[in-house]
């Protein structure tokens, strides 16, 4: 590692990676276990919540976003935002179609 890079570029060490690995494995176990319970509406909510937690862990640590610039964070945020706009506004049409004409 060249010294002049040190300040700009944070290196995440193996300790963090191992911790995240275990968190992800536990999360997977948890979500599979939860899927066997009958929780009605809560089943998808829990599954997606755990999936999102896992995804956030991957993004923050494996993909180093916790240590990246604000710009990267902003870019990721805007991408996720547009993703949600696409899904929610399209679904809004489909859901409100069922409400009838007015």
């Amino acid at each position: 590692m060249s010294e002049h890079n040190e300040h700009a570029h944070h290196i995440v060490g193996p300790g963090v990676y191992v911790a995240i690995l275990f968190a992800l494995l536990i999360g997977t176990g948890l979500t599979v276990w939860a899927s066997f319970l009958e929780l009605g509406l809560w089943n998808p909510v829990i599954a997606l919540a755990i999936a999102t937690t896992k995804a956030v862990l991957v993004v923050l640590f494996f993909m180093h976003v916790k240590y990246s610039t604000k710009l990267t964070k902003l870019a990721i945020f805007s991408g996720i935002f547009m993703f949600l706009v696409l899904i929610s506004m399209t679904l809004a049409d489909y859901i409100s179609r069922a409400w009838g004409s007015w």
Partner: protein
């Protein structure tokens, strides 16, 4: 020099084009085809885009000729359908979307921010190759029978009911889409990471802001078009059912995905043009753009709001009435930033010192036509009047006012404005002013009657129409011939000027942008030393001081 112009050219008897520039640095066809110089890639784009523009234009000519008479006599309806489909596909995906960004943006974004190149030069070249591959594939489909879905590929027509080349055309658009994604991505990275020291965001020229906004749309919107096309291809080949009502799919879902890209796409087309207008108006009135911050943020606002309005293309198509309300309201909001821009440009003229060179004439044309185009957009965004006006010639006239009257005018303004920088030579002023006026007249004669046709209810995409619409169609076709002349003229005199034009010198317009503070045509690495920016954009006082201290920038 007369006092009516700001042009200051070097003494023609001694002036020379600098020996070392991006054109002369390397020779041979391969040095162009394998280049990673953004300026050379811009020139490649310029040539190929002009080529596709004239193919699309020829198709437009055929359409207008067919519509001269009420009967489908020049060509049969299915030929006519193929012609307007190809006209749409070529003009939108191979001319309008890449026009200003890929040529002027490619050439001048790095120069305006004081960089040596775009951040990813090889990706830039790749995106030109993707563009060419897509374009040639589109031409290929035209030669093997064409496609007649309309450029909107409406399902289930495109998936189940036509037997023309939907797959190849779809593939062509898909590939061109990736070219556009890569261009946008490259611009965003470049603008963020490659700015010269001292060049803060609010010192950037507005051309950069608007291209930045358009790039966001390209990066986030185009992939959705890509997936929509993939779904069409699979539906057509395997019958996967996502758009097939008999299998439980919903054909409207395609419209959602398609317009999620294709509405922002009109902002991809117009935003870079607005950037050009900001540059031109400022320069020829020798004034900082009025309300710089407002203009800059209105670009971003258009990009953001542009993503929330797509369903206004589907008001009568059976989306829910609640969705109609929401999307109509949001469509009204997106009109505001455009109004802000128009007023700020007008006020930029206030207390300026205005001259009327060709780019300025085109810019004035843009302002008038874009105002009409924008206002008629409100007619269509309002859900009630949309019922009567949608799917008629009103729509056709509206988007041609925005795209041709707006974007193409801006493109021509930009080409003339930066021609001396790109080639080192001036275009001939008188004939180009004439061309600008001819274009303006021809344009209005072509497209204004179409507003009336649309109000009267003439449907679009009709090869034959009731005879009472003929007179206005004749006006329109007559106008199209004038417009055609207006577009041919620049090609002729610009090519002529490559050899015979006056030598322009570094800064013929006395403009303030960084791109003008280096030789014309520029060096391959743009600047001999990386400039340090210590003033705001459009700082004409800085320029004056600079010239007093160091003398007029001379030819290298």
């Amino acid at each position: 020099m007369s006092t009516h112009t700001i042009v200051s050219l070097p003494d023609q008897s001694t002036a020379r084009i600098p020996k070392d520039n991006y054109i002369t640095r390397e020779n041979g066809l391969l040095s162009w085809l394998l280049t990673s110089d953004h300026k050379r890639i811009a020139i490649l784009y310029l040539i190929s885009i002009t080529f596709f523009f004239f193919i699309g234009g020829a198709l437009a000519g055929l359409i207008r000729l067919e519509l001269l008479t009420p009967q489908a006599d020049l060509m049969a309806s299915d030929t006519y359908n193929k012609v307007f489909t190809m006209h749409g596909v070529i003009m939108i995906f191979f001319f309008l979307v890449p026009s200003v960004p890929a040529t002027l943006g490619n050439f001048f974004i790095p120069m305006m921010i004081g960089a040596k190149d775009l951040a990813l030069p090889k990706v830039n070249l790749l995106s030109w190759y993707l563009y060419m591959a897509g374009g040639l594939l589109a031409l290929y489909t035209m030669t093997v029978g064409g496609v007649d879905t309309g450029w909107t590929f409406t399902t289930p027509l495109s998936t189940h009911y036509v037997n023309t080349n939907v797959l190849t055309t779809g593939l062509a658009v898909f590939i061109a889409g990736f070219s556009s994604i890569l261009t946008g991505l490259n611009f965003i990275v470049t603008i963020h990471k490659m700015r010269a020291p001292g060049l803060t965001w609010f010192r950037l020229p507005l051309f950069i802001w608007s291209n930045y906004a358009a790039s966001i749309l390209m990066v986030l919107g185009t992939p959705v078009l890509a997936i929509a096309i993939v779904l069409i291809a699979l539906e057509r080949t395997l019958g996967i059912g996502v758009f097939d009502p008999t299998k439980g799919g919903d054909p409207l879902l395609f419209q959602h995905l398609f317009w999620f890209y294709s509405h922002p796409a009109v902002y991809i087309m117009i935003l870079p043009g607005m950037g050009v207008i900001s540059e031109v108006i400022s320069n020829f009135s020798r004034k900082r753009v009025f309300g710089y911050t407002a203009v800059a943020f209105s670009s971003v606002a258009i990009a953001v709001f542009g993503f929330f309005v797509w369903a206004h293309h589907m008001f009568i198509m059976g989306i829910s009435n609640y969705a109609v309300l929401v999307f109509s309201l949001l469509s009204m909001l997106v009109a505001v930033p455009s109004a802000i821009k128009i007023f700020n440009w007008s006020l930029t003229l206030y207390k300026g010192s205005i001259t009327f060179e060709t780019p300025m004439l085109y810019a004035f044309g843009f302002m008038g036509l874009f105002t009409i185009g924008g206002m008629t957009g409100v007619f269509l965004g309002s859900s009630g009047t949309d019922i009567h006006l949608t799917e008629t010639y009103f729509i056709v006239a509206h988007f041609h006012f925005v795209m041709v009257g707006g974007m193409l005018m801006a493109f021509l303004a930009g080409i003339h404005f930066w021609w001396p920088k790109m080639t080192g030579r001036m275009y001939p002023e008188k004939i180009s002013q004439l061309a600008a006026v001819v274009t303006f007249i021809g344009f209005n004669l072509t497209f204004f009657p179409q507003f009336i046709l649309g109000m009267l209810g003439m449907p679009r995409r009709y090869a034959a129409y009731p005879p009472e619409f003929q007179i206005l169609n004749v006006f329109s076709t007559a106008g199209a011939t004038i417009l055609g002349v207006g577009y041919l003229l620049p090609v002729l005199y610009l090519v002529w000027s490559l050899r015979y034009g006056a030598i322009a010198g570094d800064n013929p317009w006395q403009a303030t942008g960084l791109e003008w503070q280096t030789q014309s045509p520029p060096l391959t690495e743009n600047f001999a030393v990386i400039p340090i920016m210590d003033h705001e954009a459009y700082d004409y006082e800085w320029l004056e001081k600079q010239q007093k201290e160091k003398g007029v920038t001379s030819v290298g």
